[in-house]
């Protein structure tokens, strides 16, 4: 199995910031367009840049360490700069922003997250590690892989429906990560487009404020070849 990581040849970000400073669009800096956005949008997007490792309010220190490690692993944030995923989730839960539903067999979202933290630590313990946060990368990966496949057993996992727990956790994780403008630089998303819209809609075309892709690989080929999952 090849070493887990980004594909070789992925670009180093030249303009603006991308998570881990890697991406396919090295000259794409969404924030350079902020002057072209409407005021309400600018305010809400720029506010996300201010969440920088805030004190956690929903999770205690141990839960925080475990979940921080979980978020890093499932989002493959292996170096700085990192999108502060857990901080954003903690803020959402603290402010009581709800998602509009709860599965009948699941506890409230914040409690589900706390159980996930406990369950991850229990799973790490079975690998002989003191906690999930203290576990080396390959143990964390194995545990997350088993979590995603619904294959963790015992302890917390006997009371928490594992498939739903994964869905709920990943819903919050990706919503945080991909709401952050740094992630838009990495993937070449144009970001807010009001009042200026888009004019060039066809295949391979780009508008002002969009940059060219400088590296490309088909993930459906590369992911299995490099044994990433």
């Amino acid at each position: 199995m090849a070493k887990a990581g980004p594909p070789s040849g992925l670009c180093r970000q030249r303009r603006g910031t991308a998570p881990q400073m890697r991406g396919r669009y090295p000259d794409h800096d969404v924030l350079a367009q902020a002057d072209h956005w409407d005021e309400a949008t600018r305010r809400i997007v720029l506010a996300r840049l201010r969440i920088d490792a805030p004190p956690l309010r929903v999770f205690d220190a141990d839960e925080g360490a475990t979940l921080e490690a979980f978020c890093d692993t499932v989002m493959a944030q292996d170096s700085d700069p990192r999108v502060p995923v857990l901080g954003m989730i903690d803020e959402k839960l603290h402010e009581g922003r709800l998602e509009g539903y709860r599965y009948a067999d699941m506890p409230a979202d914040a409690d589900a997250w706390k159980l996930v933290a406990r369950g991850l630590d229990e799973a790490a313990l079975e690998h002989g590690c003191a906690s999930f946060a203290a576990a080396p990368h390959d143990v964390r990966s194995q545990v997350c892989g088993a979590f995603s496949a619904g294959e963790l057993r015992g302890g917390v996992w006997d009371e928490l429906p594992i498939g739903r727990a994964w869905t709920v956790a990943m819903r919050d994780v990706v919503a945080a990560f991909y709401s952050h403008p740094w992630s838009w630089n990495e993937i070449g998303f144009g970001g807010p487009a009001y009042p200026r819209g888009h004019a060039r809609l066809g295949v391979g075309l780009r508008d002002a404020g969009e940059a060219d892709e400088e590296f490309s690989v088909d993930p459906a080929i590369d992911v299995p070849v490099r044994g990433l999952e």
Binding site: V45, M75, L98, R102, Y178, H198, L201, G202, L228, E229
Partner: protein, 553 residues
Amino acid sequence: MRDFKLALKGSVGPEDNDSRNLLDPHRRGVPGRATMRTYRDRDAVDLVIVGCGAGGATLAQRLARRGWRIVVIEAGPFWDPDSDWVSDEAGSHPLFWTQNRIVGGEDPVEMGKNNSGRGVGGSMVHYAGYAPRFHPSDFETLTRDGVGADWPISYEELKPHYEQVERELPVAGQSWPWGDPHGYPHGPHPVSGGAERAWSGARRAGVEMRVGPVAITNGAFGNRPHCIYRGFCLQGCKVGAKASPLVTHVPDALAHGAEIRADSMATRVEIDGAGRCTGVAYLQDGSERFQRAEAVAVAGYSIESPRLLLNSHSSRFPNGLANGEDQVGRYLMVQGAPQVAGRFPETLRMYKAPPPEVSSEQFYETDEARGFSRGFSIQTLGPLPIGWAEHVVADGHWGYALREYMRDYNHWSTLGVLNELLARPDNRVTLADERDQSGLPIARIDYTQCENDRLNIAWAKRKLEEIWEAAGAEELLTIERYAHLVGGCRMGDSPESSVVDSDHRAWAVTNLFVADGSTMPTQGSANPALTVMALASRLAERLARKRVGATPV
């Protein structure tokens, strides 16, 4: 001659609705709000409507024009798109009904952003904008196909209202060959690279598609601006090009004296000793108030309408208002909405252009050779990064693989289907043990598919895969989801099997009406908003002509 007709096409507006001209060309807030007429709680208005969405706003506009004194009680805000809406995916959270609901059953349906809205304009504020009609067959699936139910009304009865609402939104698209063939008031929008790919694949796979029908202006239409193809339709159209009641019906309703009382959550419909409604209790700024009215129309969406009726229990209706026969909340329907995305070597940037672009109803009707009853429609979609990430996670990816699929975002294009899942009595809204902040029991939604549903979804997914393969897609990625809740207070021929009659009137309460998507007995595989509006338009016509004799209304 042809050019002349085209030029004229966009400029002929509907009669009996001035909303497009009442909007301000420079600001997006509804101008009439500042001068809105207001009623006192103790004024017994002609009609109080709960909910200012697709059904409620249309009903309000129609009857206000006919001189009725109308108050609309709306739980959410009176939006000012300039300051309240953003061109951002996560930031659009406040548009959704995010209060807790419990979801259960074997195939639970996720609520929140994928379901209903909250605020003036209702769920159409963040709907995609597809505006197809139902097919004539949808009104008699039991007779034709032996499944679902027959409506107590026919397509023909709704047709003039479809035509009128299509002019009011207005709907843009190519002329429509399916169902009852018809044209659209505005011509088709240009399509994006991703939709082009899907369309060419469909052609090669023998699937006919058409541009539209979308409720997005494409040409001059009063003060409604043209679409700027920015792709944030599901985040609320800040531009005002996409139709929602906020721009299509609310301005005209206000101009004719309706009051829209926002930030007011209806908690109970009250009745008197004779079993007639007397008005609606609601919460505003934490205090309980009561609006008197001669009649009540509930239009709070397929979850909140049943919830409100169930919460309005009394000694006369111990199991909830109009629920003597245990019908309220039953036959709740949701469409299967799996999506399959295809990858191409070129960049397609699916975030550009409105997500609703090209669609097909070729597989809408029953074809016995497929092995199941009823069918599905096919539509293009354009998930933004968070929606796309949910797609990738659903396909089983996380970690480095997830990041790599996400970096590949611009190479993908997405097609979805809408499957007609069949109405079943045990798919229903009930009250959960849990309560909301104000002490009101919250809704619980149970949903379980039947065999026909599973076969339909599986067949439709294979069809999408065929289309992408024919288009030359290198890879495919699939997500299972649901869309569009309707039913829960269905209309029918008898009180034993329905909540309201063909005039939307509760069987058991003569001055109580249900005027939203919850009255639908079947759902077809068309998106529901146009039909919700057409039904409300028909109801208004019948009330105004006093054809339904809801005296003293």
